[in-house]
Symmetry: D2
Subunit: 362 residues, 4 copies
């Protein structure tokens, strides 16, 4: 059950860094949506390695193939299987991981849980696993085009280590985000971030940061109290991404410093509908979207793999020193941006169809 996500728009992902390939099956997708491999490829290309000088140099084109569920260019309502075959696998570069657990990586815990692990490139714990998520989310976006036009998720790098960008969540555009390789829509800060990441890489070290994501055009009514409140679904989705350590929505942790009289979002009528004068709620109240822009932040730790020697233990329980090889991102943030968007879109798509199931209206 561990690799399935969603209740109505339900995906099942599979694949490891160095197995035959990776992919996803999407079950419950509405029929009659136009869908091509190019629609999916566009998003995979934003996620793939080797796309710029500040990400891992692994050379994968990540070409996808749709094996089922689409006929003459349209979805049929049956399961859609999307596959990406692995190409640039170099298991030998990971040979030392066969015997020693990389600090702060998943080597030890996979071994403790399953009694076995695919040590090549991190196996299932590789960021390569997110290909299936991104592919499925590209299909989710087709659902929005049909049922909630105007709905869009835009994520961007908000901070790298101590460098924080200034961004207006209501106005930031996809084009601004894509205008530089770090995916930060504040050009001046972006430049500094890129310099920092290059410096960190040359140090054999790594950095983390924060991705912010805004969801605009979300209709009121999405989210299912009490356990599947929209913020709960988003928080669970984001913390399922590799390297994440925190999630906050709207006013977040900072909001705990305010009093209720300062924090509350008063209502008024605007453009014929109920609006809030401020948006400390972050677009969700009582677990249900209120029609305002949803925005949240996700903390990503510094990449666990660094090229400095570290103390660790072997699978046989001997203490040892490990110095990583292989190909890695010195900072996951630029590639995390499309992953955060993908998970947000998967949550919204599932909740849109769930809302249709119970309450109709789409």
């Amino acid at each position: 059950m561990s690799s399935q996500f969603g209740q109505v728009f339900r995906i099942s992902t599979w694949g490891e860094s160095h197995g035959g390939g990776v992919g996803v099956v999407v079950d419950g997708c509405p029929p009659l949506l136009e869908l091509s491999e190019a629609d999916i490829q566009r998003d995979l290309d934003r996620r793939r390695p080797g796309q710029s000088e500040i990400v891992t140099p692994r050379a994968e084109t990540d070409q996808c193939r749709i094996l089922s569920g689409v006929f003459e260019g349209r979805t049929t309502g049956t399961p859609i299987c999307v596959v990406v075959m692995n190409q640039d696998a170099r298991p030998d570069a990971y040979r030392e991981m066969e015997k020693a657990f990389r600090p702060s990586h998943a080597d030890y815990t996979y071994q403790a849980k399953y009694g076995i692990r695919n040590w090549q490139g991190g196996g299932r714990a590789s960021a390569r696993e997110t290909i299936g998520r991104v592919a499925a989310a590209a299909i989710a976006k087709k659902v929005f085009q049909q049922f909630a036009p105007g709905l869009e998720a835009v994520a961007y790098v908000k901070s790298v280590q101590g460098l924080e960008a200034t961004v207006d969540p209501e106005r930031v555009t996809f084009e601004q985000v894509e205008s530089n390789i770090v995916r930060c829509p504040d050009p001046a800060t972006a430049e500094k971030m890129i310099e920092l990441i290059k410096q960190v890489r040359s140090d054999g070290d790594s950095v983390g940061g924060v991705v912010e994501c805004v969801l605009r055009g979300v209709p009121p009514g999405l989210g299912e109290p009490v356990f599947d409140k929209l913020e709960a679904a988003l928080a669970g989705a984001m913390l399922s991404l590799p390297a994440t350590k925190g999630f906050e929505i709207g006013s977040g942790f900072g909001g705990t410093l305010l009093r209720g009289s300062e924090h509350n979002d008063t209502f008024f009528m605007g453009e014929g509908r109920v609006r809030t004068a401020s948006n400390r709620s972050g677009g969700i109240q009582g677990g249900i979207s209120n029609g305002e822009t949803i925005f949240f932040r996700v903390a990503f730790k510094p990449t666990a793999t660094i090229f400095k020697p570290q103390q660790t233990v072997t699978t046989e329980g001997q203490e040892t020193e490990l110095k990583a090889r292989g190909r890695h991102d010195p900072c996951v943030l630029p590639r995390a941006v499309p992953m955060v968007e993908a998970m947000a879109n998967l949550v919204l798509c599932d909740h849109l169809l769930r809302q249709r199931a119970q309450c109709g209206g789409f």
Copy 2:
């Protein structure tokens, strides 16, 4: 599907603030566990209103009754239904909410989603909803006694507005937490917090804060990558609680300021098993518990209900001013402590049994 939680230890909660009652059905509980109403009552008493001078004065004894699934003092493996009937309902105190949406509360969004809402006391969006969660979690603790003795969740108030407590997550005890009415194990700070909450109440205002929770004695191996990673399950569980705005685990947002070489937890052998020298991971790596103490923080916003006049709109779309009546907590933190523990225990219990299903060992 919205009020069900867990895959194997699966609960289904129900009930509103002012309906006939509230409760839970637990499906999938192991048989042969000793269980009495007193076991559940103990935890409900920590959650109930009217327990101290700094929480809502609503007078509910919250007496629970087990209606099924227990025979001669032991669980039978069949569904366990626990019911608490509502007693001190005063719907008239909420009459103004029938017509006007309380700012930053769930009135508007429930109306937008369902086209109807039980406006008495917040209906399903009342904290009263959490009774079912706490009752179910009391049963989860019985599972731990049988299958993972030593496993315990201890939550406490870490901060109220700007007041932050100093607490050692490895050593803090349940008794320390319960030693004062604000449930903060740092006595000096606790006193200040109580004063602040009293002040805020007399101002007709409210405050928020942060609850920290530590999970000790969690065996390595719990958590199911990729979507049901343990931190993802915890994040989703916590953000499903009323008034939550953020979640961070281990180093959290602060961890984004470190480099990998500073952040990584190196491994060593201790007491015959693999240990980490530091614990910035917060006890979970790659989505799976590593045997170290798990700790995380949850942000709670200031209570939405305040006793000052606020701008809002009516169900008919007229702008108006609302001044709340009714009985409310000026600060949800003290009563949030058992709720956070409950959700943590529900996550752990479900994952313990899921681990047994796939990998055995308990």
Copy 3:
């Protein structure tokens, strides 16, 4: 997970023959449906014991109470909890079952599975468990009134032991079914059935038979290949009822004696829509309803509890002889009729909302 049914219209039942009560929680019900306790009571009264001279004399009024999810006479979209408290419990009448397993009953297997069982009146394996199903199905019928008016399930006793009724599935009415205590709409055969059941009871024996059920007004398009084909969902639902041994739809087992050229249902245009000239498919093709009347049959074995001495073994593994006491149905068929209808309605309601989720149209 064992006592939950449905994906979108999801119910969770609980309760034993001799515990505090029995009931159900319905999650995912559409809001704004008119619903009263009387709506549910009507169906519970058809199911309850003591309603006629040919069923068990246990004196239960089975008065239901709605504890949540309904406000001012309409559903709110939040979980609906319905409770029936047990009243006429006589655990002493089952004392001999504490030590000995009743042949062909669930005593032994519950013990083997759970290591414990509530032996009073059969515990969870009592037909009393079906109260929750019938209550939930009464709510499902409200969904049909809103979204698929004209949809109706009519079940009836088709045979008791060797006595088989002649019934026209297209025209049989609820009133005809309810016109006699055995619930067989063929009056002449009904009379013989009643005589047979009385005879069997006076013999201290029991009989079984077949319930047939027709579903009229089902819109085309319900059912989800491949695993949740509509006939698969119906088969699973029916075989979950106590005492069932078989299910067949449309031509059923008899259809295996025909050639394809005799069996196929040719299409023609009628009343502006696609119709079939015959209906050996039973209203479902490829797992999806085709708009024709759905009809199926369910085999019920003779009641396991008889008042003749039988060989058996004790919980300690000693061979012994058991002669049942307690209150039992000599033939479950009359009371099985509302149970079969209930399960059919639960399947249809869930699939109606699932179809709305994926494909819209209701």
Copy 4:
């Protein structure tokens, strides 16, 4: 949700007759099981077309490939993806189905449900869909080898049209079943069945029949009342197979002709455990396996596709005559045998692991 099956051992199938391929993802499989493509291929070969002169001549080798979840010959606990690419696709042979609905096939209902259908070879409604089921079940058998050695499912053709075989469910072997191309372990009847099928094919017609399946070595305790009783799970699983019309277990429909005193299975002690003197229950009581042999029968209708002209309507609602082309089985029974076994094994595997989750013991 429609193409997923199982709660703990959870499979997700995908693929159409004439798309890129078909396959399955298995989530929740225990780690450390030895598994190779050859293990799966063995079962796929029993299912594939073109294996004998009485089945469809479509030339598919159905070579499978494992793309994930297996490392160095053993399962890793992560999702296992198995793919079979389509090869001998001849869409032009189905061109007439683009415009006209084949009687008693799924053409019309898919169109009614989804508003679109892949008409090539039946799309998702092709028996080709069952490849994913058979592949997953081959993995389930590996679970049995580890956790329930001796557990085995043996299915066979019990009848073809009026020809009924004599088979002893307790003793029939896999080798006897495989000794002839119709998969009937009664050699004399098998010969007649083969003759009948050849005759029917030369007539351009088709026949149906009954597959019987025995499950031996099932430990007591499997099955989850009330909705996931073992017979309910089996019934639902079987009716999800193409062309099925009925299911009966143990005494089945015939059992309704007996009285309770004739039907009950009395208990005795044998080989140190509780046994039943007869087995009209079919190995399941109260929804839970009792350790006796489980046996059930599944009715398969005559293949819908025949080579005689039939009345039907077009997608535009015009009445027309259709004469099928393409490649089809004149009788699905021989190839249905491994499909029935596969579904039985999937049910048992899921319930074995679910029992381990709740009650332990494996």
